[in-house]
Symmetry: C2
């Protein structure tokens, strides 16, 4: 087998079969009831309500501190499914590969998808591999579509005045890490993406709070600022964050301070916001903290009646308040 | 709204919302029980066994005689689901758009997806839109992932010696049309892609043949030659095609003759091969011919015991036989 991807790897013949048999399928396989055929899959135990979510990943660079495009592509859709109160189960994987991609890169990326799938109990049941000519795509794009079984109902319409706002860990890690490697800012302290699957955190929170867990959302592109502003618009409520309660790594804070950037609109890839009835907030945080992905969970704010219309407010350590706007429409392209 | 796609259309802010509200969602909406939210979807009436299939589409040019990348992307996955004996139901749509794509092009492509969805009763229930910088992708790539409810069981393991081989219409239309426009061969006769959804054909065949409908496959990339060779390998049987029974448009035959190309390895995008017990072949063809997508259906061959191992044989009009090999690993990149 050659050491880079050739167009013929996408033509459906022997080279395609070799690529599937030698690189893709072995990396993705686990102890599954469904064999990885990467053709159309038949799923016998999907019960409604079924949650379906899709996402394409175009991140550059493909390897970054804390992850790679493969881990991100699987974790990202695992999280989208999880935020609907659904246990992630069956996933499809669509690869669009540029001719000339080193086979070893593809191998590492497939391995990282397979490792995460095995660790989280999700199964890649079907897929598609396209190879396009040099210059037609930058390296590798990945689409993942995930199915899950919805176990409980959450949504912004269930958020109530007085709810506690929780975050499952430190903020702004992903955006800071990508910015640092992409722009070669050479910030030497360790900045790592938080790229991680969140179903375990969600399940722990639900076990602790039950129906008092009202809403969930992972603040990816646009960070907490975008997610909370969306919820403010949809609910007409006021979301108050306490600045000194927001968990943030010192290295991330220092990095963003140097660049003059606010952490609130910076992307996260392994964190979720949770809206919980106030009397369940402490026990829910405690439950989340017992998960490896939730050790830095914290109560970071509360939901209030809005003066006129929904908005997001940051309360500083000295008690002043400022409104956090929806992030303006500039941003980092290809952050996920 | 500007007249081309800008990076900010992918940043998740107001421009993204405008793009969804003004271009994407209206084009895709129909009289659905599920609103098109293009976020994660909750599906209440999906019953197992569920068929799941995914495909990415990178075709160039994006508009071609007989269709466009949108119609192709939806029909292609409708067909993958249909070939499993499943009625196509719920689809996700992942767009990766190059900065600078004319908005009007995107509008036409979304309209063509929406038109086909409404015509086939398929629903786009969730989606994702990424915008990447100029030069990072060529124009527009589309991923579709489809779910269907499996209504009956078909598969190569059910093919029997003596089965009739049926094709739902003329062969090689898609590959010939794309080759003609792509290579600017300037062949003036009308060459049109056959890009079309096949569930109706499949349902009609099943109604006529019942459990005597043994297997189905749409011969896309690699054409009849690739599909039949895969089945020959998987079943160990011999598949004999009668050359004079193969439906082919005169313009396609003339075009391929000029280029010295054999129609058997040329891609189709709206045709399926069907394997049916011999005593049901005539009634099944008659049923397929009553569908708009199946008017040229024909019995084109039969399944025989293989001399040593599975293979594909073409029987010419004068009675000679030649073996049809798996297409060699050169082909047209970005044909779908």
């Amino acid at each position: 087998m050659s050491d880079t991807i050739r167009l013929a790897h996408g033509f459906g013949g022997r080279l395609t079969q070799d690529l599937l048999d030698e690189v893709i399928i072995p990396a993705l396989s686990g102890k599954h009831e469904h064999a990885v055929t990467l053709d159309a899959a038949v799923l016998f135990d999907v019960q409604p309500p079924v949650v379906m979510s899709t996402d394409s990943f175009t991140i550059t660079p493909r390897f970054f501190p804390g992850g790679d495009i493969g881990k991100l592509a699987l974790a990202g859709t695992i999280n989208d499914v999880s935020m609907m109160g659904a246990r992630p189960r069956y996933f499809s994987l669509g690869l669009i590969i540029e001719e000339g991609l080193p086979l070893d890169e593809l191998r590492r990326i497939m391995q990282s998808i397979g490792d995460l799938a095995r660790r989280t109990g999700v199964q890649i049941v079907t897929g598609d591999t396209k190879v396009v000519e040099r210059g037609v795509v930058d390296g590798l794009f990945i689409n993942t579509t995930g199915l899950g079984t919805r176990l409980f109902h959450v949504g912004p319409e269930r958020i109530r005045e007085g709810d506690a706002i929780l975050i499952s860990g430190t903020i702004a890690d992903h955006g800071a890490a990508i910015l640092n490697v992409r722009e070669k800012l050479g910030f030497t302290q360790s900045l790592e993406s938080d790229c991680a699957p969140l179903w375990e955190v969600v399940a722990a929170a639900h076990e602790a709070a039950g129906e008092h867990l009202h809403a969930l959302r992972d603040p990816t592109r646009g960070g907490l600022a975008a997610t909370l502003n969306e919820f403010a618009r949809d609910t007409g409520l006021q979301f108050v964050l306490r600045e000194d309660a927001l968990p943030i790594r010192p290295a991330v804070r220092a990095f963003l301070d140097v660049l003059g950037l606010d952490p609130l609109p910076i992307a996260n890839e392994g964190k979720c916001l949770l809206f919980v009835a106030p009397d369940r907030a402490e026990s829910t945080v405690a439950a989340i903290r017992r998960c490896p992905e939730g050790v830095n969970a914290a109560i970071v704010g509360r939901v209030e009646k809005a003066p006129r219309r929904g908005r997001v407010v940051l309360e500083t350590a000295i008690g002043t308040r400022r409104v956090i706007e929806m992030p303006i429409e500039t941003g980092l392209p290809r952050i996920c």
